[in-house]
Amino acid sequence: MPEISEATLLRIFVAENDRLHGHPLYHVLVEKARELKMAGATVLPAPVGFGQSRMVRCDLNVDAGPHLPIVIEIIDSEENIARFLPAIDGMIDSGLVTLEKVKAIFYRSAAKSTEPVAAQPS
């Protein structure tokens, strides 16, 4: 049986066209997560959605433009998520951030890691 650990799932709901210093916000958030050595991040686009503004954003609606919803998911230990949250404070202008407790199995491939294998605790 694989080793199961407790982790926290952080989900950030923003719009595709949200920007920070001229860069797409989701890109900035992923870069920030990478900088802080979080376990990983995944960006998932959504075809339809609405938020606080009550505007329905849909990829079929030409007028809506690139306002589609984007979800960024980061799964890491509770401490690491707590460390990450202050770092992104103020970056998200309008959006939603949720936290969930999950059980996680981390598969770490020695071959694919950029770090030397010897440096990894077994």
């Binding site: 049986m1 890109h27 992923v30 990983g40 995944t42 960006v43 969930e100 199995i105 491939s109 950029t114």
Partner: protein
């Protein structure tokens, strides 16, 4: 097939580029889930992400070197998911698997189809539903 109200959501985070035998890993996992009669599987593809290696997974102009993140979601009873975990363990090389509790409100076709609804509206007595 029935899924209990108290079920488990299994999510598998991998890359499009990850392989299992001759094909992509995400297809292998979906095929395996089908083979083992799990309730269902959904593959979600993301345009950007990173994992343990710290390398950014992103789209590339060359279609052969696509390395995008994929998430496979499977919802089924706790027993079925626990049965599936060792099988998945054999397939995974690097990536992340998460397990969450989920409450299933609807699975499969529980509502009568279009024909019976039409018949109802037209006042024709509908026979027993064909599909449960």
């Amino acid at each position: 097939m029935e899924v209990p109200h108290d079920a488990v959501l299994l999510r598998i985070f991998t890359s499009v580029a990850d392989r299992w035998k001759m094909g992509p890993l995400y297809l292998g996992i979906v095929d395996k889930a089908r083979e083992l009669h799990l309730a269902g599987a959904t593959v979600l593809r993301g345009p950007l992400g990173f994992g343990q290696s710290g390398k950014l997974h992103r789209g590339n102009l060359l279609p052969l070197t696509q390395d995008l993140p994929v998430v496979i979601e499977i919802v089924d009873s706790e027993d079925k998911i626990n049965e599936f975990l060792p099988v998945l363990d054999e397939m995974m090389e690097s990536g992340l698997v998460t397990i969450e509790r989920a409450q299933v409100l609807h699975y499969g076709r529980q509502r009568a189809g279009l024909m019976s609804r039409l018949k109802q509206q037209l006042g024709i007595s509908a026979g027993p539903p064909l599909v449960h």
